[in-house]
């Protein structure tokens, strides 16, 4: 079967101001040179696939480009380079502004981080869930109402709550509304950017079980961004680890957690609270490299890497296969 989503060499670069536009123009005129404009490599040459019904976890250091990647995949922002193929169709060429009106909008849905902040305070739960159905599928009347009720039931939201506004709902109820809104148009791919980090453990347990059940019932694929590796392990088949815009490691969740190949992955796993390995957690020393104008001929992790050598400073690491579906970008990957 063809993958549901294929991402190839996806890149997002932000040009940083470096002064005002007029200032740059003036400088260019006066010095007769094109001033260098710093470029921030938020996502740099990322490739991966998601199979139908598969759940891929995305983890990595704060600021490594996870949210940037997500907003490109759900086509809320345009890539600088690279290709996103969904069900075999290239969707990266359609500008983000227009994508919202295509049929694929309903097939790729996203749940954002904070259920408290991502709901419009003036819309009832019913309106929130109905909105994508109205907009994308032109549903109305009885059919709309039936669909909203069915979806609410699926996520365990009692009928009686549908008339309520966000401030009248608990955190867990708001999270359910958010999930209901995303699954109402029956997406094939559901992207979740830290869906449970604002929830307490009890509500989180409920939502994780819900997500697990929905995936089995509806056959959706998930891209699941989270900082909680214990949660990723529970919900994901495969895991992708990013470091400063690049993919550091990708493989089956069990293998990545038990036999991490990349030293960053090892540090990450050793720092999971409550799961420190015998030698204690690996603390990363040294300053992280800058995402601005990174050296293309160095490993992004060099300088903080506990096992890095001279080679890493002068040659970008190749992709090293570690197993059938497991690989890492490291010169000294543990095999």
């Amino acid at each position: 079967m063809a993958p549901l989503l294929e991402v190839e060499h996806l890149t997002k670069i932000y040009s940083l101001g470096g002064g005002t536009k007029a200032g740059r123009w003036l400088k260019q005129r006066l010095t007769n040179t094109v001033p260098h404009q710093p470029r921030l490599h938020a996502v740099d040459d990322v490739s991966f696939t998601i199979e139908p019904g598969e759940s891929l976890g995305l983890v990595g250091e704060s600021g490594c480009g996870k949210s940037t990647l997500v907003t490109m995949l759900v086509r809320l922002s345009d890539p600088t380079a690279g290709v996103i193929r969904f069900e075999g169709r290239d969707i990266s060429a359609i500008p983000a502004k227009r994508f919202g009106r295509t049929a694929d909008r309903g097939r790729i849905q996203v749940v954002f981080q904070d259920p408290h902040e991502s709901l419009n305070p003036r819309h009832t739960a019913f309106d929130v869930i109905a909105e994508p159905l109205r907009r994308l599928q032109a549903m109305n009347g009885k059919a709309l109402e039936a669909k909203v009720r069915e979806t609410a039931e699926r996520v365990g939201l009692p009928d009686t709550l549908l008339g309520r506004f966000p401030h009248q709902l608990s955190g867990g109820q708001k999270a359910r509304v958010n999930i209901a809104r995303a699954i109402a148009p029956e997406p094939r791919l559901l992207v979740l950017d830290e869906p449970t980090s604002a929830l307490d453990v009890s509500v989180q347990a409920v939502i994780l079980k819900l997500l697990d059940r929905l995936r089995r019932e509806l056959g959706m694929s998930y891209l699941f961004v989270s900082h909680d590796l214990n949660v990723v392990r529970l919900l994901c088949d495969r895991v992708m680890v990013m470091y400063l815009g690049r993919v550091a490691e990708l493989g089956p969740a069990h293998d990545v957690f038990t036999e991490p190949g990349h030293p960053y992955t090892r540090a990450l796993i050793s720092a999971i609270p409550g799961a420190a390995p015998p030698g204690g957690p690996v603390r990363l020393e040294g300053d992280p490299k800058s995402p601005i104008d990174p050296d293309p001929n160095a490993c992004r992790f060099h300088g903080r890497c506990p096992i890095g050598k001279e080679l890493c400073a002068g040659t970008a690491p190749p992709w090293v296969p570690l197993g059938p579906a497991h690989g890492t970008a490291c010169h000294f990957a543990r095999r």
Partner: protein, 373 residues
């Protein structure tokens, strides 16, 4: 005065007067934070953690009223203090990291300047050195390329980076008391570890005291000295971190632990806590956990909650004794802890706070030591 804790919350009740009724957000809440220690405040959403923090900072919502008890910073009363005095305290002596950091930042000022502003107002920075110190503060919270990132606006940074900017701002004035409301929820575990190391170092080196509010029990277990567990506006259990997590006494604490994912648990192993937090506007039973509790006794409906301390009876681990030297009129004879040793009720107020290192619980039928282990 070396025995005076940095922060003392003593028998505090807080109500919010809203249009839909009076929300009894906190009732008889007591805890302390001493110099150099990190105290973890845990509990479900809505249990009153942020309200406690706001009350300690003297920044309660206008609808919120402290109806009972005393909140003191180094012996100085916070509730009832003049706003001017509080403002002086908040800048220099105590600072807070808020729960939703993005909204706490000014969207149209670079982050370097925002940290600089705090440094100049409260941290003694000058026009000459504020920039340098702001960059150092960014480096401290592990922002890569701090000199250039100081020029960034909040929208140009990731969620976790904004969160770290707020942490840098809260630490910039070298507070004696730090109140951190979910400071690391948006951070990956290695960055979280670096931030917690930073806070722990400040506690060790400068004697800063910290109140760490978190949902993450693993994090609390790893970084805190003592834990305060709250449920629906009550403190239900307090104790040294190891004892509390190894032998939770309150059924609620045990349920919280059972809901927490960990490396050796599958989805089926983690269980949500049955029932919901009670509506804090409705009349409430003496124990607010009553309707969710599987160990409830008949006495739970009748009597005010007891305050018990573990191990008071010498030599017998797991035996409970009264928290306060003179038990109140409650019938001590009715009580048995699970292992048959005597449990005596204490007073229901906080007039005589226990030693902070005691493991205390407010429950008529606490878990047995063996059971919990």
């Amino acid at each position: 005065m070396s025995n005076v804790p940095l922060l003392e919350v003593d028998d505090v009740s807080i109500e919010f007067r809203t249009r839909s009724g009076v929300v009894k957000a906190l009732e008889d809440v007591s805890f302390t934070v001493a110099k150099g220690e990190i105290v973890g405040l845990v509990g479900e959403s809505g249990s009153g953690k942020s309200v406690s923090a706001y009350a300690a900072m003297g920044i309660l919502d206008a609808a919120g009223v402290v109806t009972k008890g005393r909140i003191a910073y180094q012996g100085m009363a916070i509730n009832g203090a003049k706003e001017r005095d509080l403002q002086a305290l908040r800048g220099r002596e105590m600072s807070m990291i808020f729960q939703s950091p993005r909204t706490a930042l000014n969207p149209i000022r670079t982050v370097g300047r925002q940290i600089g502003d705090v440094l100049r107002r409260h941290g003694g920075a000058t026009r000459q050195n504020w920039r340098e110190r702001a960059i150092a503060a960014l480096a401290q919270v592990r922002i890569p390329d701090p000199a250039r990132r100081a020029e960034a606006y909040p929208f140009e940074l990731s969620g976790g980076m904004c969160q770290r900017i707020c942490i840098a701002m809260a630490l910039a004035c070298e507070p004696k008391l730090l109140i951190a409301d979910e400071p690391t929820t948006g951070l990956d575990v290695t960055t979280q570890a670096a931030i917690m190391d930073l806070i722990a170092n400040l506690c060790r080196a400068r004697g800063m005291g910290a109140l760490l509010i978190t949902h993450d029990l693993h994090l609390a277990a790893e970084s805190c000295d003592r834990i305060v567990v709250m449920h629906a506006g009550h403190v239900v259990e307090t104790g040294p971190v190891q004892a509390l997590f190894a032998r939770p006494l309150h059924p609620y604490t045990a349920s919280l632990l059972a809901a927490t994912p960990s490396p050796d648990r599958s989805l089926d192993d983690i269980g949500a806590i049955p029932g919901n937090l009670p509506d804090l506007r409705a009349p409430l039973p003496p124990c607010r956990y009553r309707t969710r509790c599987q160990r409830a006794l008949e006495v739970c409906d009748r009597e005010p909650l007891p305050a018990l301390v573990e191990g008071k009876k010498e030599g017998t681990q797991g035996a409970f004794g009264p928290l306060h030297p003179q038990p109140t009129a409650n019938a001590a004879g009715q009580l048995r802890s699970g292992d048959g040793s005597a449990v005596a009720p204490g007073g229901t107020g906080g007039q005589n706070p226990p030693h902070p290192n005691h493991h205390t619980v407010r429950c008529w039928n606490p878990l047995r030591t063996e059971e919990a282990a």
